[in-house]
């Protein structure tokens, strides 16, 4: 940074003009320094989570309070803290800048920009730990948050203010679901916050570029605490993200926040706890690891006076073990989970959502009538299909009804497949599910089913805009529209020409 001489002189004069303060600062002396952690003797009145300033310019947060000393985690690993250095109390907890100017920006866990687009002028400075909304303040989750992913919106619907866990092994498309959801929020009046915890910088750069290319960065704030950063930053990042989300929520806006991922967050907290010599418990995590995530996710929710925070935390499992410590904790905290299956992913079913194990506990109330009508029996049909599919593996001869069920199930699985970065609006989803429900895919080859339904949705949109808009406005499909759609579907079936198989070329 280039410093102008005039700046320096004016600042110097200004600081000398200030009268000496009357009160004494409360300080402590650094007696022990470790890996991003130090022990300070003194600071007798320091409180838990208080921000401490070191004489050398570094800052830290109090994590342990002992009789004669406190343990402090350092915020900046690049500024050296030496033994016998003085540490001063600030009297406040760590605060982060928040504001509208953060939209479209990439920041670190301290709210500082890291995208080389200049400084961000904050509207407010807020403490990163805030009280969760009370029961009185909370409203019911009754408005749908569309993800644009047909399998999610139809079978595991997410409501605004819900906390839905995305869980799965590595490379099963967890982040892809989250990113698709962000991309789908374009023109939906939803502010998105993407918190990257302990991920590689290259992954984050790719995600940011993708959001930028799709015009999604304008309504998104990206918070990064990559794997190379200090564990404290990884620990703080989700709280900072949530604080920024709360700023928008308090303005009556709907916010979607993605924590990618909380397994790394728990690992960072475990590292901190072990360095603080706290007693390790199951899987060496400290006893308060549940509280770590519950206090974060409880801050999500819908406020009756307007505004909501929808949280999509991501958790990585090891070898499909959803009964490990952190996954079970998160499953119990959240209002449902989307479970991604490696087997399905390898079979080419993407998004690889295991619809039998995935659940949305409150999203049903937020689902639109139209989608509800179209998916009444879909979950059951899929369950029966998978059961029958296992049975058919034995080579048993199946009756006609069972064979029909198998064919129908295969079609359902096929239409639930969706390419990455392709999202469907709510009406398109209704039309796709309508084609399946009303058996218009019976004479279509399985591999052509996706083409048929997408073309059908586009056909209705372009040729019958009145019906399309009616569904969009009423969010329902009444009997009259249903009859009309049947007519349109019959008409389209005659017109449908399957595109040539490009693989043959």
């Amino acid at each position: 940074m280039k410093i102008k001489n005039t700046d320096l002189v004016s600042l110097f004069e200004q600081s000398l003009k200030d009268l000496p303060q009357e009160k004494l600062d409360e300080i402590g002396i650094v007696v022990k320094v470790g890996d991003n952690i130090c022990q300070v003797h003194g600071l007798t009145n320091a409180v838990y989570n208080e921000l401490i300033e070191f004489e050398g310019g570094n800052k830290g947060i109090v994590f342990n309070l002992d009789e004669e000393s406190v343990d402090i985690f350092l915020l900046d690993s690049n500024i050296v803290v030496a033994e016998l250095e003085t540490a001063k109390r600030t009297g406040s907890v760590l605060k982060t800048p928040v504001g509208d100017a953060f939209l479209g920006r990439v920041i670190n866990a301290l709210g500082e920009p890291i995208d080389a687009l200049g400084e961000i002028k904050p509207d407010e400075i807020r403490p990163i730990e805030a009280a969760v909304p009370s029961i009185i303040e909370r409203g019911l989750v009754n408005q749908s948050l569309e993800t644009g992913i047909i399998a999610v919106d139809s079978l595991i619907p997410i409501g605004r203010g819900q906390r839905e866990l995305i869980i799965g092994n590595r490379s099963t498309g967890k982040t892809a679901i989250a990113i698709d959801t962000i991309l789908h929020q374009k023109d939906q009046d939803v502010i998105c916050i993407y918190v990257s915890i302990g991920l590689r910088q290259t992954n984050l750069a790719r995600t940011v570029r993708l959001l930028e290319e799709n015009g999604a960065l304008n309504y998104t704030v990206v918070i990064s605490a990559d794997s190379s950063e200090a564990v404290l930053n990884q620990y703080l990042a989700p709280y900072v993200g949530c604080t920024i989300g709360e700023y928008f929520r308090d303005q009556g806006k709907d916010v979607l926040i993605i924590y990618d991922d909380l397994s790394n967050h728990a690992i960072a907290f475990r590292e901190m706890s072990l360095l603080l010599r706290r007693a390790p418990g199951r899987e060496a995590y400290p006893g308060d690891v549940f509280y770590l995530h519950s206090r974060l996710l409880e801050r999500a929710g819908k406020i009756s006076s307007g505004g909501s925070i929808t949280a999509l935390p991501i958790i990585q499992t090891q070898q499909d073990d959803i009964s490990a410590y952190i996954p079970t904790n998160l499953i119990s905290i959240t209002d449902g989970q989307i479970i991604l299956d490696t087997k399905l992913f390898n079979q080419g079913i993407r998004p690889a959502i295991n619809v039998e194990l995935s659940v949305s506990r409150v999203g049903g109330a937020a689902q639109t009538k139209a989608i509800k009508k179209m998916t009444k029996a879909l979950r059951l049909e899929l369950a029966q299909y998978h059961e029958l599919l296992d049975f058919s593996q034995f080579g048993t001869e199946l009756d006609q009804a069972s064979q029909r069920q198998l064919e129908r199930g295969a079609l359902a699985v096929q239409i639930l497949k969706q390419a990455q970065y392709t999202t469907y609006s709510f009406v398109e989803q209704c039309l796709i599910l309508f084609a399946l429900k009303e058996n218009f895919l019976e004479n279509i080859e399985v591999k052509q089913a996706s083409n048929f339904v997408t073309q059908f949705a586009n056909y209705v949109k372009s040729v019958y805009p009145q019906e399309y808009n009616t569904i969009l406005e009423t969010q329902d499909i009444d009997d009259k529209i249903m009859d009309k759609l049947r007519e349109i579907a019959t008409e389209f079936s005659k017109l449908f020409v399957p595109p040539e198989d490009t693989n043959k070329i």
């Binding site: 600042l11 110097f12 600081s15 000398l16 009357e22 600062d25 050398g56 003085t86």
Partner: protein
């Protein structure tokens, strides 16, 4: 706090219960000097902890040492008690605790007064009064000169700090401009 500290604290408390009113501020300063001596001469404590050496020899060493620091009369009963229970090696820890507990019980705080240039004693007295007024405690001060302050003074105890100096202002400016610290005091 380790076991050694816990035992030493108990001895210190017991000693102060009996002899607290006999300790003056001068004695406290001597105890501090002796504590520094032990910290910089670890071999003395090692000598006291070797079981082969006779207790009389150890006592003689301590007598000589206390004589030098003008603490012989005050600490003699403690040395006898420790030699009887063969715990002479705890003496440095006990002295530390005597100092800490005495300060706590009598509301005494030690401040280091640092200035950029030499100050007349009457100014130091004024500063002590200011500190006593701010802390409501009895103040013991040590005076230092530190050219790094450039101009001004710095008053520091274990838990409190007051500074008004050019050095501090320079450091604040460096922080504002994201530069490495100008000078650590």
């Amino acid at each position: 706090m380790n076991n050694k500290d816990i035992i030493a604290r108990k001895y210190a408390k017991a000693f102060l219960n009996l002899y607290e009113d006999q300790i003056s501020l001068e004695d406290l300063d001597n105890i501090r000097k002796l504590e520094h001596f032990f910290a910089s001469h670890k071999k003395v404590i090692f000598f006291l902890s070797v079981p082969n050496i006779q207790t009389i020899t150890k006592e003689k060493l301590l007598d000589e040492l206390f004589q030098r620091f003008n603490l012989k009369t005050l600490l003699n009963p403690l040395v006898h008690l420790l030699s009887n229970s063969k715990r002479l090696f705890l003496i440095d820890n006990i002295l530390t605790h005597i100092k800490l507990i005495y300060k706590k019980r009598n509301d005494i705080t030690r401040f280091t007064i640092t200035s950029s240039h030499e100050m007349p004693p009457q100014d130091i007295k004024i500063i002590e009064k200011f500190l006593a007024c701010q802390t409501n405690k009895t103040i013991i001060s040590t005076y230092n000169i530190d050219k790094k302050l450039i101009a001004g003074i710095r008053l520091q105890s274990d838990t409190l700090l007051w500074e008004y100096s050019i050095g501090k202002q320079c450091n604040t400016l460096c922080k504002q401009f994201d530069l490495p610290c100008f000078q650590k005091s």
